[in-house]
Structures are given as structure tokens and as C-alpha cells.
Symmetry: C2
Subunit: 199 residues, 2 copies
């Protein structure tokens, strides 16, 4: 660990905030996680809200930036959908609590959304707008593409957000079986979306 103190604080804060949310997180816990005195958090970031905003803004923009990369490759719309689904599932699998974290914090304080999107540099409207366009050209504007996007995101996020419930009810708390189930979803979701768009 040769990263700077500020970076250590930031990474510890990210971990704790994503796991417990703004209200559930404690400054002392973040300090412990970073292995240093609590006062240092206030030395580098003035307040808890400041630290949280820095973390949240970064997670928010990075998440959408990753999505953007997926949608910029030069292939057909349907291929893009397939690649998007693969990459998005991998992205959530690597950060399983992030989507739910983003949803929770936006619901907790929806006011920050506008300034957040502006300050984050990237504009989700354009990214998701690109996505809408992919869907639109794939199904020939027969359907409202917003329904496709919402269905797609719901199908991708829910198995992660509802994991404790689903894993227990359907998989007898077998972690490996559930991981395989999550992998299978790439194919399943692709088939569902494409079948619906084509028909």
C-alpha cells in the first residue's frame, strides 16, 4: 500500500459508503478501514457530506462512462446490445452493490441529480440517448425504446439487488449455484430482448 493518504481515505470511504450508504456509514468506520486517525478525514475532506459527494460523483460518472464505452464501438445495433449486456453484467458482478447504492442515494436526495450530472462531465441523457437510438434502429421504432431500456436494466440489476432473497428462496443459499445463475443471465437476457425487438 504505497498510495497516498488521501487516496487511502477515498478508497476506504468508497467501500464503506457503497456498502452502507451515506446514513449507515460512520466516519470512524471509514477511518478504521483506512487505518488512520479520524481527524485526517476532515483534514483532507472538510465534512462527511463533502467526502460522500466526492465518492458518489466519482462512482456515478465512472459507471456511466463505462456504459458509454460499450456503446461507442462500430458494429451493428443488435451486436451492440449483446456486447452491452455482457459488459454490463460483468461490470455489476465486479461492483455488485453499486447500482443499488446509486438508486438509493438518488431516492434519498433527488435534488442533487441535476448538479451531479452536470458536474460529472458526462451526460447520462446522451449516453442513454445513444442507447435508445440503438434500440430504435434495431426494432424499427415499432416500440417505445424507453420500455426496452427500462426492462433491460431491471433484468440486469435485480438479480444483484435482490440476491439475498433470491439466493435463499431459489438456490438454498448455494453461492456457487447463484453465481452460475448470474452467468447464465447473459444469454437469457440477450434472447429475451432480441426476441422481443425482432418480433
Amino acid at each position: 500500500m504505497d498510495s497516498s493518504t488521501e487516496e487511502k481515505i477515498y478508497e476506504a470511504a468508497r467501500k464503506i459508503f457503497v456498502l452502507k450508504g451515506m446514513e449507515g456509514a460512520r466516519m470512524q468506520e471509514i477511518a478504521d478501514e483506512a487505518g488512520m486517525n479520524k481527524a485526517l478525514l476532515h483534514y483532507y475532506f472538510r465534512s462527511k457530506e463533502n467526502l460522500f459527494k466526492a465518492v458518489f460523483k466519482d462512482i456515478f460518472s465512472k459507471f456511466f462512462t463505462r456504459v458509454k464505452g460499450t456503446l461507442l464501438s462500430e458494429i451493428t445495433a443488435k451486436e451492440k446490445l449483446g456486447i452491452f449486456i455482457d459488459n454490463y453484467i460483468d461490470l455489476i458482478a465486479a461492483n455488485p452493490y453499486v447500482p443499488q447504492f446509486i438508486i438509493n442515494e438518488i431516492n434519498r436526495d433527488p435534488k442533487v441529480l441535476k448538479s451531479l450530472m452536470f458536474e460529472s462531465g458526462i451526460e447520462p441523457q446522451k449516453i442513454l440517448g445513444m442507447f435508445l437510438h440503438e434500440v430504435e434502429s434495431a426494432n424499427g421504432t415499432k416500440l417505445d425504446p424507453r420500455h426496452i431500456v427500462v426492462s433491460l436494466l431491471g433484468m440486469l440489476i435485480f438479480p444483484f439487488a435482490g440476491r439475498p432473497l433470491l439466493q435463499m428462496i431459489y438456490f438454498n443459499d448455494d453461492v456457487e449455484a447463484y453465481n452460475q445463475f448470474l452467468n447464465e443471465r447473459k444469454t437469457i437476457v440477450k434472447n429475451m430482448i432480441l426476441k422481443f425487438i425482432e418480433a
Copy 2:
């Protein structure tokens, strides 16, 4: 308001807990919402955790009981799916924060899940098991029905959980337009699921 003191506390607690979660809720805020002294909350329910458990257990079991009712009618599997989707969307529309609340609290403390299901009387496994059976007989066991159920629930819940984000990005914060979008989803989701199962 001629309901008893205990009922008033309970309803206030339900409202605040669902809106802000266990950690975000304050006993004083619940007392204010109920229009009475904070000490009364401890007089009727011993502790915050007690009060929360009572509320959560009740919400959890009522939500699954409602789902159960939908699946018990005597019609074909495909018809049941359609009716289930209609009723489930109406149910969430009447309690838009409940699914996310349940998901959050289960993630926060997954240990309580088992005892919760046991104490709540109804067993989600059986209810969702019934649902699996409907899906199974509708698609002739060609697909793992668990994927269908997870997709279906994700498609139904996500537009409510992600509302602030989706409403802003796709509907310019037009509340009425988003409400109409939510209504359209009944048809859309039905078509998606049925098309996928039949094919």
C-alpha cells in the same frame, strides 16, 4: 383519526421506516408524525428495533400474501401471468417504496430473513414456487423458470425504484408522463414475457 394510540404509532412508523429505512428513520420523527410524545413509542414498543421488526415483518408478509392471492385463481397459467402482472404493478403503484425498502433491509441484515419468513406465517418459497409452476407449465420446461421470474420482477420493480433517475432522463421530470409510462408497462411486460415463453 379515532384509531388507537398504538395504531397511530404503528402507521407513523410504517410510513417513516418505508421512506427512510431503519437507519435513516428517527424515533422523534416517528413521534412527530404520530402527533405524540416520543416516550410513548417506547411504552408500546420497547425499542426502535422492536418497532422496526414489527413493521417490517408485517409489510413483508402482507406483500407476499397479496402476491399469493393473485396466483390462486382458477384459470390457465398464461392468464394467471397476465393477471399477476396487472395486480403487481397496481400493488407497487399503491406502495411505490415498499419493494426497494424490503430489498434494502434484507441486504442490510440478511440473517433475519429465515426467522422472518418463518414467523410471518406464509412461506415465500411456496408462493414463488407456485409462480414457478405457472411459468413452467406455460413454457413446457424449455427454460429455467427462475430466470423468467427474476426477469419479470426486475422489469416490474425497476421502473419504481429508479424513478427519479428515469423520470428525469427520459421524461424531463414530467410526472404525468411517467405515470402513463408506468401504466403502459402492464401491456409491454405481458407481451415480453409471453412472447419469450411461447417462442
